[in-house]
Structures are given as C-alpha cells and as structure tokens.
C-alpha cells in the first residue's frame, strides 16, 4: 500500500492559506487525547501540518504539561479561542496567543451555547473583522450560512470553517447541503470543521470539493488514535483525488450503453 501512496503526486495541488502552501489537507486538533505523549505519534501518522489547540488548555507553568512542547518544530499552530463567549473575548484570547509566541494564525471559536457548542456567527464576524485588521490569519469556525460566509470573506478571513455537525458529536455531515452551497459560492478555502466522525465522512467532504477538513474527536477518542489518524490521512487523500478526478453524474436509472437514438448520428 505504501508504494501506491508514494506514487500519488499531489505536489501541484497544495492548499494556499495565509501565505503558506499546505501539502496536507487534513488539519488536526490536540484536545481529548489520553496523554500528551501520544500526540506526536498521531501527528506523524496524520501528516497534518496545521495543528489546532485551545489556548485555554495550554499550560505555560509546567513544561511537561504544555502541549506545545509535544508538537514538531515545523508545525503551523492554529490556536483557537475556545472559551470565548463574545467577539471581545475572542480578540483578547487571540492577542494572548500571539503574545505567547503561537504565531499569527487563529481559529475563531465564539460559543454562547454550552449545550450544543454552536458557534455564534454574529460575534464570529465581529472578531474576524477586528483580528484581520490586526494582521492575523483568521480562520472562523461557523454555522454554515451563505450570508455570513460572504461577510467573513469581505472581512478578510483566510478560510471558512463550517461545521458538519456539533463539535464532538461524530454525527458526520449533517449540514452537507449548506456546506455544498458555501463551496459553490465562496472563493475561499472551505474547511469542514467539527462533527466528522468517520474517515468515510472526511472523504465525502473532500469529494464535494471542501479544501480541507479538521478532525479531532474522531481521532482522539478512537481505540487506536494513531491508526485512526492514518485512516483519516488516506481518506482525505482519496476524497481529494476523487474530487480532482471529476466523478461522473449520479443517475436514478441505468444509462444504456447502446443509445436508442444512436441511429440519428449514423451516416
């Protein structure tokens, strides 16, 4: 199988975000794992280049508890603003992350609903506008809504991160139709974030034309997170290849290989 993977050349198909060409279209999160020690192994298996982590969970006081010390040097950090309930709080968390040396990428997460952890699109837009002005590469996590996505684009977001279903739910692409519209209409990378519970669902999102997917819970809570990270890596590649290959149309009926009106073309 390794030979097949090696033979796949996606080098011309990089994803351009924030001035960086990303080879991997799988972004992963660092939350919910059973130990920090397993994280580097997961990252290696996933081949992810962009890693998200909640700033609230970064332990600056105790080096062995600090997740940043377990990430490879060349990782692009994507600190998220988990815990923010307003745009103002998200902006403050982003600034703290930058001041702490986490770079200038930020995933905006503004949640005012602790039952479903649904993002607040309005506050997310306000935070995006402010942080773009401050020079951040802003990736807003949002409920898939075309109007908001357009405004986020106008505000200068680097990508749009619609949810497939609520965070941690593993319920897959429940918002598929809404995400499809974003992919059609928004000229920014659409990264499906949250809800993807199976590698097949990641492949499905990529086949639809999503630019990338972000996966955390599905990997972190698998019985074998390293193996699952590999599975997601392959699923994302397969889905991307499927998208690039241009799948044929789906039909309800069989398409006759000998057309009934073929005689009209005959001389």
């Amino acid at each position: 199988m390794n030979d097949i993977i090696k033979s796949i050349d996606l080098s011309e198909d990089s994803l351009f975000i924030g001035g960086v060409n990303l080879r991997s279209r799988l972004l992963v999160g660092t939350g919910k794992f059973s130990s920090h020690e397993i994280v580097p192994r997961v990252l290696e298996a996933s081949c992810a280049q962009v890693i998200t982590m909640a700033l609230r969970r970064v332990d600056w006081k105790t080096p062995q508890e600090n997740i940043l010390n377990y990430l490879p040097q060349n990782t692009i950090l994507l600190p998220n603003t988990s815990g923010a309930r307003t745009a103002d709080e998200a902006v403050r968390i982003a600034r703290l992350a930058k001041a702490a040396g986490c770079g200038n990428w930020v995933k905006i997460e503004v949640v005012q609903d602790q039952r479903y952890l649904m993002p607040d699109n309005w506050e997310t837009l306000l935070a995006t506008e402010q942080l773009v002005k401050e020079g951040f590469v802003v990736l807003p996590y949002m409920s898939p809504d075309l109007g908001t996505a357009k405004r986020l684009q106008e505000a200068g977001a680097a990508a749009i991160m619609p949810l497939g279903s609520p965070i941690g739910s593993n319920r897959g692409l429940q918002t598929k139709e809404l995400i499809r519209i974003l992919i059609e209409e928004i000229p920014l990378p659409i990264i499906v974030d949250a809800g993807i519970g199976r590698p097949s669902e990641a492949a499905e999102a990529m086949e639809m034309g999503a630019a990338a997917v972000l996966v955390n819970t599905a990997i972190a809570t698998a019985c074998d997170p390293v193996l699952m990270a590999q599975a997601f890596r392959l699923a994302v590649m397969a889905g991307r290849l499927g998208y690039l290959a241009g799948p044929g149309d789906r039909r309800i009926e069989a398409a006759a290989s000998s057309p009934l009106t073929g005689f009209l073309q005959e001389a």
Binding site: A99, N170, A220
Partner: protein, 376 residues
C-alpha cells in the same frame, strides 16, 4: 425562577412513584437519544439498578465524545471559617468550639504561592458565612491578590446578591460553586435551624444570580444523604438543566458530595447514599445532561474516586485541605470543615489519573482580564 420548576414537579414525584417503574420503562429511556426530566426520574428509580452496566457504557461514551480523556484538576483554599449559621452537619456550625481564624492578605498570597507551586491553576476559594469577618470586600481583596497566580479562580461562599457577584466577577472570579445542600424545604429548615442560611429561596436562586452577573461557570449540587437522595439528585439535575437553558453561555457543572464525618453529632434520618446509589446518580446525571461537568471531591476514598472516574467525571479536586490555611508554613491554621477521604498529594492523584488512561489538566481556562494572563 427555578423554584417554579420545583413546585411543578413536587406533586408529580410522590414517594410511591419511584417504585412504579419497570425494566421496560428503563429500556425505553435508554433507547432515547435525548432525555426529558421524566426520563431522569426513571433512571433514578430502583428499576434502573439492574441497568447500571449499560448506563455506565453509554455514560462513558457520551463523556468521551464531549470531554475527551481530560480530567480538570482544582483544589480548595479556605480563607476563613467564622460562621453565623448552624448547619447541623457542618463543623463550622456557629455553636461548635473549633479554632476560628481568617487569613490575612499576606497569608493568602503565601497559601496561593504554595498551591501554585504544585502546578494547580484552578483554585476554589471558600469561607464560612460571616459578613463581618469574611464579607464580599474581603473576598475581593483576596481575589485580587491571587488573580495573577492562577488561570481560574472559583468562589464557594454563602449566596450573594447579583451586584456582589458582579463585583467579584470584575475582580477576577470565573466560577461560582454553591450547593443547595437539599432541595427538600422541610429537611432544609430542619438542618439549618438558625442563621441567614435559613433562607431557602435566596440560596436556591443564587446560581442564576451569578450567571446574570457574568460568571462563566457555575457548579451546583446537593449534599447527598441529608434528605431523600433520589429527590435531591433529580432536583440537582433539573436545576442544572434550568441554568443551561436560561444561561446557555454558562458552563454548568454538578458536584456529587456525600455526607462526611465532621465535628458534631448529627445523623441524617434519610437513607444513606450507598456506593451503588452514587454510581446511579452519576450515570443518570450524565445521560440526562451530556454536556454538564461532573465534579468529584476528596470526600470520596482513593479507591472510589478511581472507580468513578471513567463513569462521567470531568473534574477532580486534588491535594485538598479543608482547614483554613495549611498549604504553606503559616501558623494561622483553623479547624477543618470535614474530614477528607483522599489525602493523596497532587503528584499521586495525577499518577492515578494517568494510570486510568486519562489526561490530568492543570489548566483549562484563560484569564481574559490581563494582557499577560498566560504568565509569560
């Protein structure tokens, strides 16, 4: 007001109702995707005892999806034990002859430094109920002194007004813990014979006031064993549900404290909360409230804490003292509120959590008030 919910349910929960459920009722509830209060009643009924294992499997899966393998750590710091109340189950009872004291701000800082040196970054501040000895102004001073040392500061004190909560929130309090002790009004009056705590309603609505004041996290619960535990567990979960629905931005958690030995002679007439009952309560909470935090204190033995951990617990206290002071080398140490059952040090608790396949989290909050809040 949450009290309206209690009155609504009071007539629907007669003593006899618990025995009226069957195995089929439990199975129907377990097949549901989301649970209603009437389903919670079924899970707390004797019929559910035969289903603890499937409930545990479901609770564990829900907890993993929502919280991962993370266990948040916190520790209490008792600032003062002067108290005007006469809670019959508590060592701080105004009539008890115990060593009373209150930490000076210098001592508070020393205690804070000693706790911070263990790596813990979530601190819970406690006092007895004495507006003259440990009023909101004193708490505020303590909060300002401790704020730079911790990622998160919580408050577990007597119920305050919305304005007082707002001032303490602005001073640096992130979370408020307040146990109703019991939701049963008759028992409540019996076990709180004197003092301001007699006001059942002021206490009952305090968590909502804290939410209104901007506090981002509230922790509630009943002191299980004071009264009928099924009823108290039901109302605790209903209370958490009420807070979640009315204040969707607030992180709500429930603690599951059982009565512990203390300096006094009170014995509850209610049925004791057996280990089996405690397990049933935790599982019912988790299934009814998938996203609620569940906290377990050092009131439980090391062995019990280890066994309960995978059932849905998300926060553990560690290295706790229930005396005033005692973490640093200060001489000013007041009597303890209750005996703790898990006296292990922070590193020992951390090791236990790791051995169970979980990740201890010393830090799970960002103090958004200060520009240098990440401590660099």
């Amino acid at each position: 007001m949450f009290y309206e919910q209690i009155t609504k349910w009071q007539h629907r929960l007669p003593e006899s109702s618990w025995a009226s459920y069957s195995a089929a009722d439990v199975e129907r509830v377990l097949a549901r995707e989301t649970l209603r209060p009437q389903d919670l009643v079924v899970l707390l009924s004797p019929a559910a005892l035969a289903y603890l294992e499937p409930m545990a499997k479901k609770a564990q899966a829900i907890t993993l999806r929502n919280f991962g393998h993370t266990i948040g750590l916190f520790t209490p710091l008792y600032l003062a034990n002067f108290c005007t109340n006469q809670c019959v189950y508590c060592s701080f009872h105004a009539g008890n002859e115990i060593t009373r004291c209150k930490l000076t701000i210098d001592e508070v800082i020393k205690e804070g430094e000693a706790i911070s040196s263990t790596g813990l970054q979530h601190l819970l501040l406690l006092t007895g109920e004495s507006r003259t000895q440990s009023g909101p102004a004193y708490m505020e001073e303590c909060v300002r002194a401790l704020r730079p040392m911790f990622a998160s500061l919580g408050l577990e004190v007597y119920p305050l007004s919305t304005e007082e909560y707002r001032r303490l929130f602005e001073a640096g309090i992130d979370s408020v813990t307040l146990f109703q002790e019991t939701y049963d009004e008759i028992t409540y009056a019996e076990v709180h014979p004197a003092g301001p705590k007699r006001d059942y309603h002021y206490r009952l609505e305090a968590p909502a006031r804290a939410c209104e004041a901007g506090i981002s996290s509230v922790n509630i619960g009943a002191l299980l064993g004071l009264s009928d535990w099924r009823r108290d567990a039901f109302y605790s979960a209903l209370h958490a549900d009420y807070l979640q629905r009315n204040f969707p931005g607030v992180e709500v958690s429930i603690s599951v404290p059982r009565l512990r030995p203390y300096a006094g002679s009170f014995t509850s007439s209610a049925a004791p909360v057996t280990d089996e009952a405690l397990v049933q309560i935790i599982l019912a909470y988790r299934l009814f409230l998938p996203r609620v935090g569940l906290a377990l204190s050092t009131r439980e033995s090391p062995q019990m804490r280890e066994n309960l951990l995978p059932l849905g617990i998300t926060r553990l206290s560690a290295g706790s003292l229930t005396s005033v002071g005692g973490y640093s080398e200060t001489d000013n140490v007041g009597s303890a509120q209750f005996e703790i059952a898990d006296e292990r040090s922070v590193p020992d608790v951390v090791q236990m959590i790791r051995a169970k396949g979980y990740l201890p989290a010393f830090c799970d909050w960002v103090n958004m008030r200060e520009e240098n809040a990440v401590g660099l």
